[in-house]
Amino acid sequence: MSAADTAFVMVCAALVLVMTPGLAIFYGGLTRSKNVLSTMMHSFFLMGLASVLWVIYAYSLSFGTDVEGLIGGLNYFMANGVGAQPLEGQSIPQSAHLTFQMMFVIITPALISGAFAERMKFSSFTIFMIVWITFVYAPVCHWIWGGGWLQRLGCLDFAGGLVVHLNCGIAALVAALVVGKRHGYGTRPFIPNNLTLTLLGMGLLWFGWFGFNAGSELAADAVAVNAFLVTHVSAATGCLTWLIAEWMLRGKPTSLGLASGAIAGLGSITPACGFVGVGSALIIGGVAGVICYLAVLAKDRLGYDDSLDVFGIHGVGGIWGTIATGLFASKLINSAGGNGLFFGDPGQLKAQLIGVFAILVYSSVATVVILYVVKAIMGLRVSPDEEDAGVDTAVHGEVGYSL
């Protein structure tokens, strides 16, 4: 066991944890003020709910003894036997592995919640999330990181382009379609209630993302440093290119565009960060800022109400980043990784495309099934009156601001 690696992973776990409050305010600031608390609660509530599921059984489903490449066994039920002893090939207590990964199972479903902000029933949200974590997050996590079939196939996902971003992004798209539009969407102005919150949230996300990406190396080595550096570079270029694209197309460089571009850059580099160098990161982030912006513009044409653009940013960013890993990965950066197309191995790109396809299909189908079942049993939306009054007072009995 290495004390340095252990210290590093603990701190990185804390950094990933703080992304969820960061996300809560990032999302919270974007809704109308009558829904700011309900939006924030989605994220905060998952800090409770997902964590409890994780230590009880979801960690085991994800990382327990592999069953046919599809799912983990229940050998780690209730964190049984997860203690000071490192997993094979690791230099940190397994309890640190469980802890670090726990932060991912919080933020992934929290990201989805942006799709149905301002109208989802809290009870239905709770049930949906329990089922989604169990039947979507855990298996997908197992496939890619827990020794499942995609991992064996050589699909690379350093820190969660598939497990986290594409997974949440496509689930969000499905959820936006099934839950339906907000009342007044497209006809009335929906002005963010507090962009200072959103910008600060972006800052916390960027900060925490270092733990997310560099921490995924599970060791304080040069690969971790590289991941840290390229994460930053991609975020930086993402925010610049989104801003420039917007400035050219719409005439105004907005702070929300800046923030959105940073998240696009961060999401896109996530699968790649342990495998690509600085030059590639400049490209990955730069492309991310533009294509995610275009995806967001497309939404307004297509007319579905993915309220906080989860698919446009995380879905599209996750796809792009996973493919980019298949293009730009280099064994010079990480000998334990692979070579992408541009470094001589077209096979890596193929593995990445299979990964993208698999998650797109599985996560969308599973999410649609779950949502329709929940809808049939208990409905998904608050009543129209509650929606007009605002979810905060109607469901939670609170108001965000009394300034």
């Binding site: 006809t187 102005p189 007072t393 109607a394 009995g397």
Partner: protein, 112 residues
Amino acid sequence: MKKVEVIIRPFKLDDVKEALTSLGVQGMTVTEVKGFGRQKGHKEIYRGAEYLVDLVPKIKIEMVVTDDLVDQVVERTIAAARTGNIGDGKIFVSAEERAIRIRTGETDLDAL
């Protein structure tokens, strides 16, 4: 000249504004207010404390119009702001004696 004061549900603002401008109303002043009336409020809970909040958010629109416009303003406002549920709001009309446009000093009808 009359002053028409309209109190409506916040989410009806755009509809009412549109209805009025299409009538030829060229200016109005909008205030965020809280209304107390028949519409019941909601319960708020902060830890142990529970409050009945009976002031509900409303929008007040004030506009000064020529006498002959008043009836139409009232009619169109009702059409645009009505949901049929308690709390749709009120329209009040009162006399206005003078109006002046600061920019030009024009008065009364010219100032509207």
